[in-house]
Symmetry: D2
Subunit: 241 residues, 4 copies
């Protein structure tokens, strides 16, 4: 409490609180590292490319870790129905994820049965993929919903057969050693350039029945759902935050 | 407390909590309205275009509401130094903002004196615009910082003279009738496609000296700063959330 | 940008950030107003006394606003079963509430049927009152639960017939003009001097069936439940925060 | 997605969403453990008594861990000026803390120099102890302030020489392995039965100069400050949350 020194320095009366030197509120450390952005939707320099149109090397079967069995053709990877979900071999926490998807041009089925797939963050929290172009279902189950938890602000769907984009900003949940949820997961989703989820608080695993619940976990894979429809993906990249 | 009815309906034992019918967690209302997304960075169907390359009609001088005096040429609007900040005539609360900017190709000055401008949300909260390509300054004052509050996660700057993009998702602060801050403003910023601010909590007006403080306010304009450097803007559109 | 003045004043190099004058972080306004505390659980000087043992003047029937029909005797107010809930005539937002309750010394019934009543904040959010001394029920429905939303951290119940205390610190929800929940209600509950709810986030109205939902509302009464059991209350006071 | 089973069970139309069985929202596990509350301000059955009026066994010098040198007399422990702070030998995370204090009956000094001491949570976050009865100082430095961070809602001080109480409900900060603050510390303080801090978010270590900053840490002691004034303490107990 060496106040004397300061009183000498500070002949300026206290009342003029606005007289702060600007240097006091400058923060020089750390210096943010440089990242070279991509052109348009191309991956930035620090992204991990998960699918560049040619290979499923970054993916494996979510059933048993065996080789990914989806179809790679024309720069896209497409669900081979009944082969099961795919997941990344790598595991992630907080991420920025860019992924493009296309529901079948030839419409078949309705509601949840039409162009259904999904992007599971950390293998547990689903951003729904569905053909929601003129296809009514429950709002918290349509495209860009956090499945059965948060309906999208708007429906920014493109027609069946068109490529669509998701830009997902995800902060993983944090658990205390005893399993308590210290901070829930949150997610922001931009669908075709339109904001549809803003810092939505995820309430637990996205489940078909019952209420969401958290189970403590660490990093997890990005998982793409085989829901029986030949949905395609391309230009998939992720950045660790 | 008409429990009897349910006991009859529910022969399923309570213990099997997983036996929730899936319909219980379906939400059908409201039905999100359709928005037609734009191609690439073009405005979606529900956007308000603030600058399409031809006219400053949506803008006025932030000094006195007089006509905007910046220069429109080659599809860009450029700071005419010393004419003062521009602000939108319209006022906004929660928004998605797309804006593109370019710092001068011809480098002059250094630190805060090089390619300095800024995007003020609600006229108060600055997302810094600066030429931060090989131009060190305090981290919480470089491009994509929330000025003197939050440094960007990374430096995704493009070189001087290149067009750059900001996609900004902003939730306005909420004040109680007595002026208390009920919810601070938050902002997510994507710079050239790279996430740089994720749900950053704004601590009050962004000021050059002293600590940020909130003053209660309602909707406010988007304001672009004249910091004496001929920074350009283009393709500016906003969506109300 | 009048930096020159400060550089003269600040011969101290910027690097020694610790050299902040202590006056900069002193806040003199406002000066908190004086409150004379009570002795023990007696009301402080700024409290509104809702029941001092003698009169139901502060209360009315929650059914229709008619005169309160509960029984006043021996310094307590006691549920007259089937006369309905009581509510305060006055309405409140954020409050500190002290209330004492007693479940019947003569035990009758079990589970939710034993010594059941409740304190409804703003007429909507129930802090459960129940005889939970050796009386198992669902955890999120026992004494000091936020009914069907938050179970208490511990069971600090006193035996039937003993007076018990609740000290409740409640922050009302805030709604945007369009009804959106800007800030959920939160509540801290101290039961018999033991912390049982710490800043629990209320998820909406506490309901017997279905999930809690928020309906926008303004200030509301404190309501005490007639659940058919002769539960008593005394020493009820509230402070507006 | 075995929807068929449920459709058979659920002849009830979906529209009647209110027809949830009440059992679905009952939570039976865990069963909160019993705690026997104390009478008045006496410790509950699960409290750790830190000072019962007779011994400093739970305390040590905060300088070097040597024996506590404060004075025990008349059921109180009193600062022996210039012997330094005391800290608990035990370390804590989230706690409920009851502590009683008394500033000298014989007033000497003014402002921060009068009856100054402090309760440091985890050895870092100070709930100010000061004689603030007719003794003006900066509001965020008076009794019951979170020192230089949060001024108390009201001034519930008792006169010099009177015993006063603090009931403190504290949630420790949580840090990620990389040191990031996942959740800031929060504190609720009841001063002489009057709420003065409600879920105040602590911004970092409470410091005399400069802005608060977090340094990652684990459990920490409760520390009582020797600020040169013979402030006394009694009836100190803590519960782990």
């Amino acid at each position: 409490m060496k106040r004397i020194v300061y009183l000498l320095l500070f002949v300026v009366p206290v009342a003029t609180a606005q007289e702060w030197p600007p240097e006091l509120t400058e923060v020089w450390d750390p210096e943010p590292r440089m990242v070279t952005p991509g052109d348009g939707t191309a991956p930035p320099s620090d992204a991990i490319v998960l699918f560049d149109g040619t290979s499923l090397d970054a993916w494996e079967s979510a059933r048993d870790g065996s080789a990914a069995k989806w179809i790679v053709a024309d720069g896209a990877m497409t669900v081979a129905p009944r082969t099961g979900d795919l997941r990344t071999k790598e595991r992630f926490g907080d991420i920025q994820l860019h992924i493009e998807f296309r529901t079948p041009a030839e419409v078949s089925g309705e509601g949840q049965g039409r162009g259904n797939s999904g992007v599971f963050l950390q293998g547990r929290y689903e951003v729904q993929v569905l053909d929601s172009y003129g296809n009514r279902t429950y709002s918290n189950g349509q495209v860009a919903s956090i499945y059965k938890q948060h309906l999208p602000m708007v429906n920014a769907a493109r027609p069946p057969g068109a490529w669509q984009t998701y830009d997902i900003f995800y902060r993983a949940p944090v658990f205390a050693p005893d399993g308590e949820v210290v901070r829930k997961a949150t997610v922001t989703v931009v669908h075709n350039g339109v904001l549809v989820q803003l810092d939505a608080e995820i309430q637990g695993g996205t489940t078909y029945t019952g209420l969401p619940k958290y189970e403590p976990h660490g990093d997890g894979p990005i998982e793409l759902q085989d829901h029986g429809n030949p949905v395609s993906y391309r230009n998939v990249w992720v950045r660790r935050l």
